[in-house]
């Protein structure tokens, strides 16, 4: 099994890696084919999401202690499988599917995230403190950027947009560059270890 896993990792990774450097007749075609397989497997793993959610909720139903705990898992399962079946057999354009997407999924997705506005306001009030030099720099830059992005900012200080733009482009840009370049080295090292099979903790469990 272990050898097999190392072989699969090498077979999957090496052609794509080699074709990153040059167009090599057979190897580049193989790399392309493997990439398409990767997409197909990603497609299968979306069904793994469906299966997992089903099992989790089925287990919750089985382990329930009171009658009241039935509702949520049942709602999840009905919604999940109802939508899966309609979607698979009739497609997204089916009125029921469209209704759920437009009036349940989309608004709930947006509403969930919009709650972050409340949380951020309260976090800004509670947590954003000038505790030390780090926090002071963070605070000043954060406030400058926030102020500069509204028309009132200019009224307070006419050069504010220029300063904010400079912070975003130069200060933030150079720090991000350092992070991106450093991150790239780390990413390459980790990926290399994955391909040659040194790094395999993700297969545990």
């Amino acid at each position: 099994m272990n050898t097999l896993i190392v072989i699969v990792g090498l077979v999957a990774g090496v052609p794509i890696l080699l074709s990153s450097f040059a167009e090599i007749p057979v190897i580049s075609d193989l790399a392309q084919e493997f990439q398409r397989w990767g997409i197909i497997l990603a497609g299968f793993s979306t069904f793994l999401g469906v299966l997992n959610l089903t099992f989790v909720n089925a287990n919750a139903l089985r382990r329930r202690k009171q009658a009241g705990q039935v509702i949520e898992p049942v709602v999840v399962l009905v919604m999940l499988w109802g939508l899966v079946l309609i979607g698979v057999f009739f497609g997204q354009t089916h009125p029921a599917y469209d209704f759920v997407f437009e009036n349940v999924l989309k608004p709930l997705s947006a509403s969930g995230f919009s709650m972050l506005a409340f949380f951020i306001a309260s976090a800004a009030y509670r947590a954003f403190r000038v505790r030390n030099v780090d926090a002071a720099i963070l605070l000043v830059c954060g406030c400058l950027v926030m102020l500069a992005n509204i028309p009132f900012g200019e009224l307070i200080w006419s050069d504010l947009p220029v300063v904010s733009d400079w912070i975003m482009r130069i200060i933030n840009g150079s720090a991000m560059k350092g992070i991106v370049i450093g991150g790239a080295i780390g990413a390459i090292a980790t990926a290399l270890k994955v391909i040659v099979g040194v790094e395999r903790s993700h297969l545990r469990g």
Partner: protein, 259 residues
């Protein structure tokens, strides 16, 4: 065989990186122990779990939003390595450890790690598989699940390592509200500000990977760290030379890199 644009540099850069990595790996395997910079957040872990023990309350841990199939897989990996250490400490201190997962594929891994740690400490009877939870692949459901654990289980410490998205704010805020000692670590740059402003200890960016390497004592991890440092310093020199050359009107180094 036609080289791609930038393929020649990419090839040699890859060769150099791979060689340095291999060299470091051999050296560490042979018993070389490199110098390690102090990472305060690691001390913080002991403090956080120790306090949970004093208070008789659980510790909460989450390995973040990413699995192993995205470009952030490294963070999840580092998080699980740190989890092994955290689980060991929890087993030693008899602290209940709650783990919240977002990714279905990470769930069994975290469960196994915690089980192994409790087993190794001879405390397997304290291990409860139901404490290792999977909420949902969905970001918000996962987020509110974690908030629910922090508020419902009255955790004493909240440890968040891995890849995070917008949910980071909710976790950190919940932890702060319930007076948790909070430790966070992520390389998701958009989320670091929230952790810096709400947590007691933060592993910024690659400090997370470094922490994992220190904890794992695994030659593969340690040698990666060494290799990264060598390449990093080499790049600093290269960039400085390249910029000086550009100042005096020579574009040679730049052009070489883009070959």
């Amino acid at each position: 065989m036609v080289p791609r644009d930038g393929g020649i540099f990419a090839f040699f850069a890859f060769l150099i990186l791979a060689t340095v990595l291999f060299w470091c790996y051999r050296k560490v395997k042979a018993g070389y122990k490199p110098y390690f910079r102090q990472i305060p957040a690691l001390k913080g872990l002991e403090e956080a779990i120790g306090r949970a023990a004093e208070m008789g309350r659980p510790v909460h841990f989450t390995p973040g939003s990413d699995g192993f199939d995205t470009s952030f897989a490294g963070m999840t990996l580092a998080a699980t390595i740190c989890l092994a250490h955290i689980a060991k400490l929890c087993a030693q201190y008899d602290v209940r450890l709650l783990v919240s997962n977002r990714r279905p594929e990470v769930q069994p891994l975290t469960e196994e790690i915690v089980r192994q740690a409790f087993l190794a400490e001879g405390k397997i009877e304290n291990f409860r598989p139901t404490d290792i939870r999977f909420f949902s692949d969905d970001q918000f459901a996962y987020a509110s699940g974690v908030v629910g654990v922090i508020s419902g289980e009255q955790t004493a410490s909240n440890i968040m390592l891995g890849g995070f998205y917008a949910e980071s704010l909710m976790f950190a805020e919940a932890g702060a509200t319930y007076g948790n000692i909070q430790i966070a670590g992520t390389a998701s740059t958009a989320q670091i500000p929230f952790f810096v402003t709400t947590c007691d200890y933060v592993l910024i960016g690659e400090e997370l990977f470094a922490a994992a390497a220190v904890l794992s004592v695994d030659p593969a991890q340690v040698s990666t760290l060494m290799m990264q440092d060598i390449i990093r310093i080499a790049l600093v020199c290269l960039i400085a030379i390249g910029a000086l050359a550009a100042t005096f009107g020579s574009d040679v180094i730049r052009q070489l890199i883009l070959k």
